[in-house]
Assembly symmetry: C2
Homo-oligomer: 566 residues x 2
């Protein structure tokens, strides 16, 4: 198995196909892969990632798409496998930058995308083409087929692409669920048929590579819901991902079985349900939904409220309710809250704090630590084995995973018979080439160019302007604050005209630290008396204050001197 | 069950006993409880907590001990139940502030405490008294007995205190392990006997209140270790908590069984092992330990390295090795790394990144997601039931837990027969009083005063000076940086003499934003031309720049104007 540190740059032979992974390899999120043949590019997904805790102030992270933008006219199409943010969330930014290639996705995926394009005022700028899993597309040298997959988003698809080098299958997010809520399991027949015909390369989801076995069926949650609903004397409030519309349908059905009515709160939940009803993905009428007033006034045992906030997102409906700060709904003793999700890595603190606060409101809380309130939309290691056995690829690249997930998935591929030298554990930007490099009989693979792809940060209205320097400064400021020292000197005789004045935040509590700040000023005054040449004065002030603050407080605030010659 | 929001202040009757929880109730960490009878105070533990991610720049958190410090002469003794940081880590700070009451703990606990006092140059300032679980203490009105507990620290004890109101039992951290590594299980006989005699109040560890069943025996890890050692062709590197000396002994024993020798790296691991060997807690001689040179030069299959870093702590030995930045040890293909711990809540990201980086070094990694490499030092819900059944307290207060843990533990107490009105789910600072408030026959309990206790932050050399204002500033700075605007005007005619000059960090990348900064200056200049009165000029500048930065970038940097009249 080849890890990308053994990078040997390709020098000879023209590849028939290049795989260019721009996101989702070595990370969970911002999934985006390119297939390239000559002057033709096919994009599979264009997702975003939510920032990790050290990405201070960042709103979103999107893939570095410079490679695509430099070849914008080569793009034959963009395939969206489903409507989750980590698969469609970067697309608006690409369209904003000028990408106009046709987009293909199932109806619900495009329904959600439309909302995003509308927000960016880009609706109508780009062609949206609804497909089903039985459609085929001729996009230049790419012949694209689809297969339905079970996932926590209705109408998810995987992709099979015939290329000049052979067939490439990209599973995207999937699981094998024998009894899915919508009655449509992952299409194994197609996968087996393609496997029989021969598959060059399999790109497969690695999210749950640490989880042995299979993921329990979505349907297994019905019992949990029925039990919880029957046990609850008061209202039921349930949070889940707003895009998990299969789960929403299950909650609707459970409410009906328990003679309850249901309403939704939280912007994305209300919006997604509306779109899903319009497109026929949910079996409920818009007018059946409870209003917020009814949620508060109807007898408690008749009410179910489905709300955003299953991850403890600070502005979500559930979090506002947990601190008794929701405009419309007030939690009461006797209410039962079900958090039907597990915290995403990095979200554990927010999630736990929400559970604590809900308990503080006196409600009963069901969450993943106390029972099976959620199943993953991704398969486990047993699903991976099954996928590999169906597809039997010649080459294998694990995708959608942090590095450890990719390594663990690669090991499974080796166990299932993919030759080790045909397995590539690569990360974003590491290209892979396929062609007749040694002889004409068989297609070979090799590592290609390593593209310099990084994160592109979205911060407010800025896309890509915040980089490592700004983040390093924010981290520094977050640790020890800053101290600006302003002094005005006479440009003729060097006498102090004003200052030294010190402005500081985040370093010490200024109000209780007058003495410390005054001594800091003394340090600078002593320095000024030495008549240090103006050219080096700012550096000297910085050094002196750095020493002073560390000696006094054991802290290293950012120190910024400003010497004005007036 | 009484939650502390139903606080009814006590008005009549003199309590015979007060419970004053200063830390560990409503949080995991900084455990500290006081028992008070008249002018006599007994302290149980004085621990620290590691900061959560939103406590920017904070090194440690310790309990707010103002209540104790105001009554410093009343303290009859300080009982330390074991040597973990969350039980002894705040003591140096208390001694620094003048606390001189005698300290009681087992030999290893005091051995670790000595190191801390030495660091703070306080060794010798306070009396350290070694006890065993069979000792008893007469401390004013408190008669103190101990019971040995199984925990991930050798020689842990719980405490039973006879008070004028009756017996109080504090379990501290514990589990029931039928086959502990040191052969000494939690002393159930004592607990049962006290239960027979009558226990007024039980304070019990709630850390694992979400975990059904019991925690597997420490001994169950022997098989895991033997399997991993035998399978490994190369070196074994294993990380665990440096204070988990039972685990260290298991690793030493497993190394011997597999004909390997062992060495330690990482300051706290090396130190703790040294102290434990000196005090007879580890069955190995100091000179048997491998040097770093031997760890690198001996045949790989003969080497075990026990290292700090099981939580992915940034400066630990394991983390340095994972990024190939350790002074002495370089990881090689063929090495096996075992991370014998589960990430503490909040540490998941650091932990996962370490696993990823280890895989990037080409080593094999065993960690909690892939197998049973760790068992908790805390019991599960079944242990809680057993404790309640042994002690059969009249009153119950769950301790050592976030709010949800306390609620879940309280429910177990109710199931085991403690009357609901005798169960108090309280958080730090909420006092509880016991006495003859209604009649002389029985001791009653009631909520007492709510003390205003908060976190005391240790940041560098400052203890308690950083509070919410500074933290709020640091959070603000971490999100969008700052912008200082300096302008000097003539105090006579109001003409601009200098500026406006803008100093900014963490807001935009200055080098690429000259145009933006120049336009920000224009905004201020336009304002200055309007001849706004000097008294309101700074506010006007702040408003104008706030509007400008939000409109231009969608960001809200901290804006600090400085208008100098020269």
């Amino acid at each position: 198995m080849t890890q990308n540190k053994n990078n040997k740059s390709a020098t000879t032979g023209t590849p028939l196909l290049r795989l260019i992974p721009l996101g989702g390899l070595g990370e969970i999120g911002k999934n985006m892969s390119l297939l390239e043949t000559g002057n033709h590019i096919l994009i599979i997904d264009a997702g975003l990632m939510f920032p990790t805790s050290e990405m201070h102030g960042i709103d979103l992270v999107i893939p570095d798409t410079e490679y695509v933008m430099d070849r914008i006219d080569n793009v034959r199409g963009i395939i969206l496998t489903h409507g989750h943010e980590d698969h469609i969330g970067a697309l608006s930014y690409l369209v904003e930058e000028g990408l106009r290639a046709p987009i293909y996705g199932t109806a619900l995926t495009l329904g959600l995308l439309e909302g995003k394009l509308r927000e960016h005022k880009l609706l109508g700028e780009v062609q949206l083409n609804t497909i089903t899993e039985d459609d085929t597309l001729d996009l230049g040298p790419f012949f694209v087929e689809f297969f339905h997959t079970s996932h926590s988003f209705p109408d998810s698809v995987g992709v099979a692409v015939q290329t000049p080098a052979g067939r490439v299958i990209h599973t995207s997010d999937y699981r094998f669920d024998p009894t899915p809520v919508d009655g449509k399991p992952t299409e194994e027949d197609k996968l087996r048929r393609w496997g029989d015909e021969g598959v060059l390369l399999l790109l497969a989801d690695s999210t749950n590579a640490e989880k042995e076995g299979t993921t329990p069926s979505e349907r297994s949650l019905n019992d949990m819901l029925d039990n919880a609903f029957q046990k609850a004397q008061g209202r039921i409030l349930i949070s889940t991902f707003a895009s998990n519309l299969g789960r929403v349908q299950q909650v609707i059905d459970a409410a009906r079985r328990d003679d309850r009515r249901i309403g939704a709160i939280g912007r994305s939940m209300v919006n997604n349900i509306k779109i899903a009803i319009q497109l026929g993905y949910l079996d409920i009428k818009q007018e059946e939904l409870l209003t917020a007033g009814e949620m508060e006034s109807l007898p408690a045992h008749e009410v179910v409220i489905i709300a955003t906030g299953s991850q403890g997102e600070p502005t979500s409906a559930m979090v506002r309710m947990s601190v008794n700060d929701h405009r419309q709904i007030t939690l009461r003793e006797g209410d039962t809250v079900i958090l039907s999700a597990t915290p995403i890595p990095g979200n554990e603190e927010l999630f736990s704090r929400t559970v604590d606060n809900l308990f503080r409101q006196g409600v009963d809380v069901l969450y993943h630590e106390l029972g099976d309130v959620h199943v993953s939309g991704h398969g486990g290691r047993e699903d991976y084995r099954r996928m590999l056995d169906l597809v039997r690829p010649r080459f294998f690249v694990p995708v959608h995973g942090e590095y450890r997930h990719l390594v663990l998935h690669a090991r499974i591929a080796a166990e299932r018979g993919v030759p080790k030298e045909h397995i590539y554990v690569i990360e974003d930007g590491q290209t892979l080439e396929f062609g007749h490099f040694k002889n004409d009989n068989e297609i070979e693979g090799r590592l290609g160019e390593q593209l310099p792809v990084g994160h592109v940060f979205v911060d407010g209205l800025g896309v890509g302007d915040v980089g490592n320097v700004v983040l390093r400064d924010r981290r520094h400021l977050s640790q020890d604050g800053f101290l600006v020292c302003v002094v005005a000197i006479d440009e003729v005789d060097g006498e102090i005209i004003y200052g030294p004045e010190i402005i500081s935040r985040g370093f010490v509590y200024i109000r209780d630290s007058e003495d410390l700040i005054s001594r800091a000023r003394d340090v600078v005054e002593t320095l000024l008396k030495k008549r240090v040449p103006v050219q080096v004065l700012e550096n000297k002030i910085r050094d002196a204050l750095t020493t002073f603050t560390y000696k006094e407080m054991g802290r290293r605030p950012m120190i910024l001197p400003l010497v004005m010659e007036v």
